[in-house]
């Protein structure tokens, strides 16, 4: 089993993503039609039954998330998270550039399920061309009547990694600094402008039309049982085919690298692979025979996350790369809570010291303690995940640290 399985990207480069009519020709907007023929409660049950779990990284059951939204408030919102900021990730950009209408249809399906007439797409500031594409796609879909009464507005972020966290994203749409809120209340109950809001990732929304069209059982039967469907992956680093692929979720990490990826660049040996973006764990070669799905990745102490696959060959200096990553988190910490603000700063400081050959065993002990505190005490996922590259490399690649000590 070494082939791609394209659902979201089946018609990539064969249809114009801006045109609703192109999308309708290949079966588009049938899912929304079917959804609207159902009772919203049954629709949510159908999505639950499909087993669709969030594709942004947290892996929460999408139908379950929707079911938390209370029925009575008049105003509710559907928000799409297109802030993909995890280094090495560009799958949401690809989904928009190849199949934007599926995203719009998915948002409208969610809107019908929770009783919302207004959607927002929060697109990262690095993608002004995607903002234009989406605005045209929305205009075209509205004109064709495909979206019905459901409206979608695109808002552009401005270069803040933390805005990928759903409550920080909401703060940013509201025109504030992108600082995460305390949870609870969760956005499903109190989100955008304090109204019930569903926030889902681009890929999650884009799966919905296919689930409705082909049925929940069909989707539940693809890939891994506990995390069904396909996943769009982006390969970066020392890999022959540095591009994107869509695979069923029970696809092995080894096959991602050696079959689709064409192997390590220049025929070199693999030293490590980091899955899920810069906040993911470093995985050693002995763990390559793991399926990429959420739970299998968790079982080896890693995470599927955004689906970025960053390959490092045998010549790479792990400590130098982790040092770079520590600088990333120090830069991207929003500064609101102390464990993250001070923790990312100290991680960077200690990593720099070790990388420059001035570190001691005590520094490594301090890093481990600091990591424990950050993981337990940080307010949001940023601070909680920031130490993972450090702890995972200390587990699997400790010798790389030890040889740099004084």
């Amino acid at each position: 089993m070494a082939q791609e399985y394209r659902v979201l990207l089946e018609y990539a480069d064969k249809i114009n993503p801006e045109k609703a009519s192109d999308y309708i020709k290949v079966g588009g907007y049938k899912g929304l039609e079917k959804a609207r023929s159902m009772n919203p409660k049954d629709l949510i049950e159908e999505v639950k039954k499909s087993g669709l779990r969030g594709r942004g990284g947290a892996g929460f059951n999408a139908g379950m998330k929707w079911s938390f939204v209370p029925q009575y408030p008049e105003t509710k919102y559907v928000v799409c998270n297109l802030d993909e900021g995890e280094p090495g990730t560009y799958k949401d950009r690809i989904i928009c550039q190849k199949n934007a209408q599926a995203l719009l249809e998915g948002m409208a399906i969610c809107g019908y399920a929770i009783g919302s007439k207004q959607g927002y797409i929060y697109c990262r500031g690095e993608y002004p061309f995607v903002v234009e594409l989406l605005k045209n796609a929305i205009g075209n879909a509205k004109e064709s009547g495909a979206l019905g009464e459901f409206d979608i507005e695109v808002r552009m972020g401005a270069g803040a990694y933390v805005c990928g966290e759903e409550t920080a994203l909401i703060e940013s749409i509201e025109g504030h600094r992108g600082e995460p809120r305390f949870k609870p209340p969760f956005p499903g109950v109190e989100g955008l402008w304090r109204m019930p809001t569903v926030v889902n990732n681009v890929e999650t929304f884009a799966c919905l039309p296919y689930i409705l069209t082909n049925g929940a059982e069909w989707f539940a039967g693809i890939g891994a049982k506990s995390y069904p469907g396909t996943k769009v992956l982006t390969l970066t680093g020392d890999i022959e085919n540095a591009t994107y692929f869509e695979v069923p979720t029970d696809y092995l990490l080894r096959d991602v690298i050696y079959e689709l990826g064409g192997g390590v660049k220049g025929g070199k040996k693999l030293k490590a692979v980091q899955v899920g973006g810069t906040s993911g764990a470093f995985i050693p070669p002995q763990n390559l025979d793991t399926p990429i799905d959420f739970d299998s990745m968790s079982a080896i102490g890693a995470a599927l996350g955004s689906g970025a696959v960053f390959v490092m060959d045998e010549t790479r200096d792990i400590v130098d790369i982790v040092n770079r990553i520590a600088k990333f988190f120090e830069h991207e910490s929003c500064g609101q809570c102390t464990p993250c603000r001070e923790g990312t700063f100290r991680c960077k400081e200690i990593m720099e010291k070790i990388n420059n050959g001035r570190g001691s065993l005590q520094d490594i002990e301090n890093l481990k303690l600091l990591a424990r505190v950050m993981m337990k005490a940080s307010l949001c996922g940023l601070g909680q995940a920031a130490p993972i590259p450090i702890t995972s490399t200390l587990t699997h690649f400790e010798y790389e640290y030890l040889r740099k000590l004084v």
Binding site: P87, E126, E174
Partner: protein
């Protein structure tokens, strides 16, 4: 050139529109002038400190004057291992400025950025948000020559 007063007025009625206004101002001015910050605070009914707080939170927004072309070198891990440091050194040497500075003729500003989501061909440099792929140090003079 569109006036910042007009830009702010056009976004004023949009809930949470201050960031949209800042984007539109930057498109014209390449940064957010202080008078525009004051006007945004007034129009969106927040304190000047809050308007400033929003503008300085986001790495894409700048309250300092910048050059006509903003060069951003990605330094995230995939670009880092692909040789971003060498490209950055070449950019600095060629422009005669350090990161965060603007050339004396006001043409180029050099900044660092985190991942811009174009990792299919690393390292990546963006010039006024336009990505340039697989940049090698020897390509720098030719790339810069295109921006007059």
């Amino acid at each position: 050139m569109a006036n910042y007063m007009d830009i702010i007025a056009s976004c004023k009625d949009k809930p949470g529109g201050i960031i949209e206004a800042y984007h539109a101002i930057q498109k014209e001015y390449n940064y957010i002038p202080q008078e525009a910050l004051k006007e945004a605070a007034r129009a969106f009914k927040v304190s000047e400190a809050q308007a400033f707080g929003v503008a300085t939170f986001y790495s894409y927004l700048s309250v300092e004057k910048r050059g006509k072309y903003i060069i951003r070198m990605c330094e995230s891990a995939p670009c880092h291992v692909a040789g971003a440091d060498e490209v950055l050194k070449t950019l600095e040497a060629h422009l005669g400025i350090k990161v965060g500075e603007t050339t004396s003729d006001g043409k180029f500003t050099l900044e660092l950025t985190e991942c811009v989501g174009q990792c299919q061909a690393t390292p990546v440099v963006t010039i006024n948000s336009e990505p340039i792929f697989g940049v090698k140090p020897e390509m720098v003079p030719e790339i810069l020559a295109k921006f007059k």
